[in-house]
């Protein structure tokens, strides 16, 4: 556990100093520009637009940085041989990869918290009603990022190029968000397709269960759905990281 904790700690330190965090600056710019543009519209529309664009931006930028960090850890460091340093130490490979994973999701948590605070500040300045539902949305964005980080690590460990690791992870992100919509089409599908969709629902992260941010205005998700969603995310992450750890154990560098 000591190794996991320390690998996570130094991963967080590295990530915080890396240029990838400057993506947050782009986020701030985006939100402020949108605020300026929508200032021309009525007060209600302006606030709603800032909320929607802001929440979408928090999710998208935290996804991009998590993707970058995960590919770096599981693919780039193997290719440029930085991984030789920790792996030539008496540390279990599973401890190392779990430590790296924890470091990345801690970085994501900080990034989401920072961007969320900025968005809240902006809404406060625009005199929007304070809504605790938004903080819950940030938490569910974090769960989605934790899931895609685990998947990206697994994909990167099995990939033969950096580009394919990015592309496949991006496709998983898109597919995970589409699973809910595909469900509506099941009646019109052939039995084979229905079986395939059901298999996909087990393999891909089903983000429909965690899309609190999308439902902010309508509040579709009942409070009773929170705990199963959190448990689903935790179970999914553990299963994928267990698989990633098994692949990492056998991987040659």
């Amino acid at each position: 556990m000591k190794a996991v904790y320390n690998v996570a700690k130094y991963t967080l330190l590295e990530n915080a100093r890396s240029k990838s965090f400057s993506l947050s600056v782009v986020f701030i710019a985006l939100v402020f520009v949108s605020a300026f543009i929508f200032a021309r519209l009525s007060e209600v529309v302006e606030i709603r637009a800032i909320q929607d664009i802001g929440m979408g931006a928090v999710q998208f930028f935290s996804f991009l940085t998590a993707l970058f960090f995960a590919v770096k850890v599981a693919f780039v460091e193997g290719r440029n041989k930085t991984i030789y340093l920790p792996l030539t130490r008496p540390v279990k490979r599973s401890e190392y990869i779990f430590g790296r994973y924890l470091g990345i999701i801690l970085s994501s948590a900080l990034e989401i918290a920072a961007m969320g605070m900025l968005l809240t500040l902006l809404l406060y300045l625009k005199q929007a009603d304070f809504d605790s539902f938004y903080f819950l949305s940030y938490f569910f964005i974090f769960l989605k990022i934790a899931m895609i980080t685990a998947v990206t690590i697994l994909i990167s460990l099995a990939s033969t190029s950096q580009a394919s690791a990015f592309i496949f992870s991006f496709l998983v992100w898109i597919t995970g968000h589409s699973l809910g919509e595909v469900e509506f089409l099941l009646d019109e599908m052939s039995p084979a397709m229905v079986t395939m969709v059901r298999i996909f629902k087990w393999i891909f992260p089903n983000y429909t269960l965690l899309n609190l941010a999308d439902y902010t205005a309508g509040r579709f998700m009942a409070a009773a759905g929170y705990l199963p969603a959190v448990l689903y995310a935790a179970f999914y992450v553990l299963a994928v990281m267990w698989l990633a750890s098994a692949v990492f154990e056998k991987k040659e560098f």
Binding site: K2, A3, N6, V7, Y10, L13, E14, R17, S18, N80, K81, T82, Y84, L85, P86, L87, T88, R89, P90, V91, K92, T160, E252, F253
Partner: protein, 241 residues
């Protein structure tokens, strides 16, 4: 008794690299029937042309890749995380974590090597003194010169006071002053009792410090010879031609 005298032992080792691209697997033979031993306390140099199997040999010893056949013994044991704790490794180029300072890197590597806080602090002081790292220790590694990064790389390998030091092309990318310094460090470490296995393209430099040399050709040991001044290059060329 025989085991303890050999720091490293390869017996009939075979290694094939397999690469998968779109359901097609390509195979490259890296080592074939490879047998070699490095004695405790010596400086042994692995020489060979590009692709001869030098880096594969090093990676197998460090458990970074796994053999397809044969047996490997590192300090008398099968390669494992436990025995690797008695080995130090310096890679060909300074593959380090650019956003960490040298001190942070040493702390992390010290923790992963199982050193407690007082032993880590003592080891960092000792290594900084030995390699004259000075103020560079608190500078981000990515901001250091290549020569300084090479020293940081050597320092992290020495933190846990290893019995066997594996140096993969330790002179790579260094200027003449850097090469001379590196040679002095290697000689001093060997005089302190450490076994050194190094790979190199620089025959003249290897000749200055190695006691024995293994010449590799096409993944096999072509020749193992005691190093005699002025003769290594000739013997190397004879073996690889």
């Amino acid at each position: 008794m025989d085991k303890v005298e050999k720091a490293l032992e390869f017996t009939n080792v075979g290694k094939i690299y397999r690469r998968n691209h779109f359901f097609k697997t390509t195979e490259t033979k890296a080592l074939t029937d490879f047998s070699l031993d490095v004695r405790k306390g010596e400086i042994f140099c692995l020489l060979g042309l590009n692709g001869a199997g030098k880096t594969t040999t090093v990676k197998l010893a460090l458990n970074l890749i796994f053999p397809d056949s044969g047996q490997i013994r590192v300090l008398g044991e099968k390669p494992s995380p436990e025995v690797i704790s008695r080995v130090g490794y310096v890679s060909e180029s300074p593959y380090l974590f650019p956003y960490l300072t040298a001190r942070e890197l040493f702390n992390l590597m010290g923790i992963l090597s199982g050193l407690n806080a007082p032993r880590r602090a003592e080891a960092i002081d000792r290594i900084c003194d030995f390699l004259s790292l000075g103020d560079f220790i608190d500078k981000k590694i990515g901001d250091c010169s290549k020569g300084m990064q090479q020293r940081v790389l050597l320092a992290q390998a020495l933190l846990h006071d290893p019995e066997l030091l594996i140096l993969d092309e330790p002179y790579s990318g260094l200027d003449p002053v850097g090469i001379s310094q590196m040679r002095q460090y290697i000689e001093k470490l060997n005089s302190e009792g450490k076994t050194i296995l190094m790979t190199s393209h620089l025959i003249a430099e290897s000749e200055k410090i190695a006691k024995r040399a293994g010449i590799l050709k096409d993944g096999r040991v072509a020749k193992v010879i005691p190093v005699r001044q002025g003769l290594l290059e000739k013997e190397f060329l004879e073996a690889v031609s």
